[in-house]
Amino acid sequence: MSDAIMKPASVAAAPIKSSLLVQHQLMKKRNAAEARFKIYGVVAIVVSLATLFIMLWTIFSDGVSAFRQATLTFPVTLEQTILDPNGKAAPADLAKVTTIGYGRVLASSFKSHLAARNISIEGVNDKALNELISRDAPAQLRNMVLTDPSLIGKTIDFSGYAGGRIDGYLKGRVTMETAKLDSNITPEQLQLADRLREAGILTTQFNTGFLTNPDASDQRPEASGLGIAILGSIYMMVMVTIMVLPLGVAASIYLEEFAPKNRFTDLVEVNISNLAAVPSIVFGILGLAIFINFAELPQSSSIVGALVITLMTLPTIIIATRAAIRAVPPSIRDAALGVGASKMQTVFHHVLPLASPGIMTGTILGLATALGETAPLLLIGMVAFVANYPSSPLEGGILEPATALPVQVYSWASRSDPAFIERSSGAIIVLLGMLVVMNVIAIMLRRRFERRW
């Protein structure tokens, strides 16, 4: 084609060459630019959705295995000579026997059971054999016996966690190659684990402990669980709701229905929109300085966490609530005022009930954001290791140390053992599950009650 080399300037000078059938050079260029521009948009969307997908996929594939756990099941003979030397089954006597005693019971039972089943591997001595059992298993056994002392002297079928590395081996995290480099496990032990699996002694089971156990130390990733974190998060969310909902609704009612237009209310408005954009860590500093240092509330307690998160979510809730109140048409107010209701009665009897679905939706979404908040909780000490469940709220449980789900994610992620990455991802799955539930409730509320005026 001859006009393929023509410059746009000369095109303008010679319009005869243009045709409806053959697309013009300049037009081609413009259309190409158009197509490119559109493709940029598609690429941007694909990239952002792909990263979202990759992120969720890696976390799920890492974390799903946290819900399954390698478990050893074998008969254990609870020898009276070790566990209850006095033979009286008195609670005080039983409590004296530490987990070391139970560890010995487990080890000897495990060894004799393997001997009976004729399972052995060269190079696995008694100590190495014992390492297959989690360090948490003796404590498990001890609790069983302490709750039911009549078990002593009997032979029971005990199932307890296998060691963290064995767990990793079953899940593919530990291989023969890595075991050679690892001082905590030998390839022989893994071979033994294979044999145990064939014999049905070593199985993987659903890990309820992951949802109920407290956190465990660095050496026992297999025993660590989310119990305290979930409870702490629930405590905090309940307290946040109790504090933020009345405060937020009251503030919004005032600003939307009663506030005169003056300097003061302007100041409040500007303040609220600015507070909504203050980095969350600043609220952590505030909590540390005011609630812990000045008011001397106990560190890492859930009440301080709730107070900090309340202050942090308040602006968001106020913004959402005001939008909901504004959506109630003025005719409702006029009608109520017209039949003689006072301004206060109008608001509380008519506007507020009509706005409440919108308020609830906004509040739940605000709480969902608050549930995932981590940074301020780190500063008020909720990252500390908490081994005991806080007591019930009525007994002052809100003043006792607790931790929260997102904080647990962080503290597991910062530990060195790769087994904790699996735990961390598993905790995220639980966290995301809770968020999905909250969001679904919010969406359902909106669908069910939303009114178009």
């Binding site: 937020g248 507070l275 500093i285 995932g372």
Partner: protein, 491 residues
């Protein structure tokens, strides 16, 4: 009398007030509520409020004032003692001693509660008659150091004052509650405007709730300002703002130069904006201008899911996936270093976090551009992309700039992703694959664990927090200003 008991008394009294007030109002009109000024319940509420609210306020005021008064008296006592021993008392010493006194006093309280000491013994305990620390240890109270006579005396007077205070508090609250109750009940009658009275109180409560936002800001500014001032009294402000090395050392002799932290923060934010702005903007343009309603209704919520995911999840993603990926595929092969946590890691992940933020703000802004402007441009023969580039975007520019500034302020204040993905090494470096650190990371690391606010090593976190607060607040105000100015053009 314990706090809960006093509170319960007030509650019961106001409940009784509700019943009696309502009954008295009805009795004053012989049961015909038509002759009352307000509905009967309002009379009940009025009495309940009078019995409850003033008493509660007294209680709260007392709770706040008492510790302040006690501390002041005790520090006077301690300072006087210091003066006789001729060692000048530093302020930090005094706070340390106060902490000791408080710890000892609570220790004595637990000992009394556990029954190892009687109340009388605790008050008469002297250091001359045996070791106080050991005595308390038997009660399960661990004390850090040995108890000096001064501290013990102070702790005992602390306990005494607290006990007197608790007594006074209970008496005051109950008296105020009863007075309010009687006063309101005497007011009650058929001509009393109970509704107006109750509504005034409710309005006051509403105003109070809306001032919480202001109180929060005041709290933030005050707490950070006062602690920052303390920091600057220990460490020169000029070295903080212009120093080039950051080397905190809990043994003392630390360097707190802001520059490396500020550089890390800005560098990471820059990388994140380079990721978020093009992707977010193009996504918004596509969704607003090209996508069919069906695609839009699916894709827009999907992108907004990103905004609903907690930042700690992004942090783990940076730590486990993005960091090692960048290290193994870019940094190590091209010789940029060998660090999984780096400016790039944190920057890219923060960028992803900010995509939905920019895209939904920009989407709103683009949609606010009047259709007539597009029609005009298309009508004279511009292609769609030319219309967007030459008409829509220039019209939307102020709003988009505002959105970008807001996103930048979020990137600067982001904590979890940088804590998990950027590293902890404070340095001034240009290589984006090096680990660097930010203001927020250092706030976390200086404040986690130890919270005795006496050393510059912990107090520096407040100065950092204030710097962060000022930067983000400035950006926000500037952004809102731009957005607001833009909005006025079309309305």
């Amino acid at each position: 009398m314990s706090l809960t008991l006093v509170f319960a008394f007030i509650l019961v009294l106001s409940a009784a007030g509700f019943v009696l007030g309502k009954r008295k109002a009805l009795a004053s009109v012989n049961g015909n509520s038509k002759h009352l000024h307000s509905l009967p319940n309002y009379y009940g509420w009025n009495v309940a409020i009078y019995a409850f609210l003033p008493a509660l306020l007294c209680l709260l005021a007392w709770l706040i004032i008492q510790p302040i008064v006690v501390e002041r008296q005790l520090s006077g006592l301690l300072a006087a003692n210091e003066a006789t021993t001729a060692t000048p008392a530093l302020e930090s010493d005094l706070t340390l001693q106060m902490a000791d006194v408080r710890r000892l006093a609570t220790g004595l309280d637990t000992a009394v509660a556990k029954g190892t000491l009687t109340g009388d013994e605790a008050a008469k305990l002297r250091t001359e008659f045996g070791n106080v620390r050991e005595k308390l240890a038997t009660a399960g109270v661990a004390l850090g150091s040995d108890v000096t006579p001064t501290i013990l005396a102070a702790a005992q007077s602390y306990r005494e004052m607290s006990a007197t205070g608790a007594m006074g508090r209970a008496v005051l609250a109950i008296v105020v509650s009863v007075i309010g109750f009687i006063y309101a009940l005497r007011l009650t009658g058929k001509d009393f405007r109970a509704r107006n009275s109750v509504e005034r109180v409710i309005l006051a409560l509403l105003v109070l709730a809306s001032t919480i936002a202001i109180l929060t800001t005041v709290g933030i500014v005050l707490s950070m300002f006062s602690e920052s001032l303390r920091f600057f009294s220990m460490y020169p402000a000029s070295e903080f703002f212009f120093g080039l090395t950051w080397a905190p050392n809990f043994a003392g002799d630390s360097d707190f130069g802001l520059a490396p932290l500020l550089w890390g923060t800005l560098y990471i934010s820059l990388v994140s904006m380079l990721v978020a702005v093009p992707i977010g903007l193009f996504a918004a343009i596509y969704l607003a201008e090209y996508a069919s309603p069906r695609v839009r209704s699916i894709v827009k919520p999907l992108i907004e899911i990103i905004a609903g995911i907690p930042t700690v999840v992004f942090g783990l993603f940076a730590l486990v996936t993005v960091g090692p990926f960048l290290r193994d595929w870019f940094a190590a092969p091209f010789g940029f270093g060998n660090s999984g946590s780096s400016v790039m890691t944190a920057g890219i992940v923060i960028g992803i976090l900010n995509i939905p933020f920019i895209s939904s703000l920009a989407d709103d802004i683009i949609n606010a551009v009047p259709q007539s402007m597009r029609d005009g441009s298309l009508g004279i023969g511009a292609t769609k992309s030319e219309t967007i580039k030459q008409v829509v975007l220039p019209a939307a520019l102020p709003g988009i700039v505002g959105a970008i500034l807001l996103a930048a302020s979020r990137a600067i204040g982001e904590t979890m992703i940088v804590t998990m993905g950027a590293g902890a090494a404070a340095k001034l470096d240009l290589n984006p694959f090096e680990a660097m650190t930010t203001i927020t990371v250092k706030i976390v690391s200086q404040l986690t664990g130890d919270t005795e606010f006496n050393s510059p090593e912990t107090l520096v976190a407040f100065a950092l927090g204030m710097t962060l607060f000022v930067i983000t607040l400035g950006l926000n105000i500037f952004a809102l200003y731009i957005v607001r100015r833009y909005k006025e053009q079309y309305e």
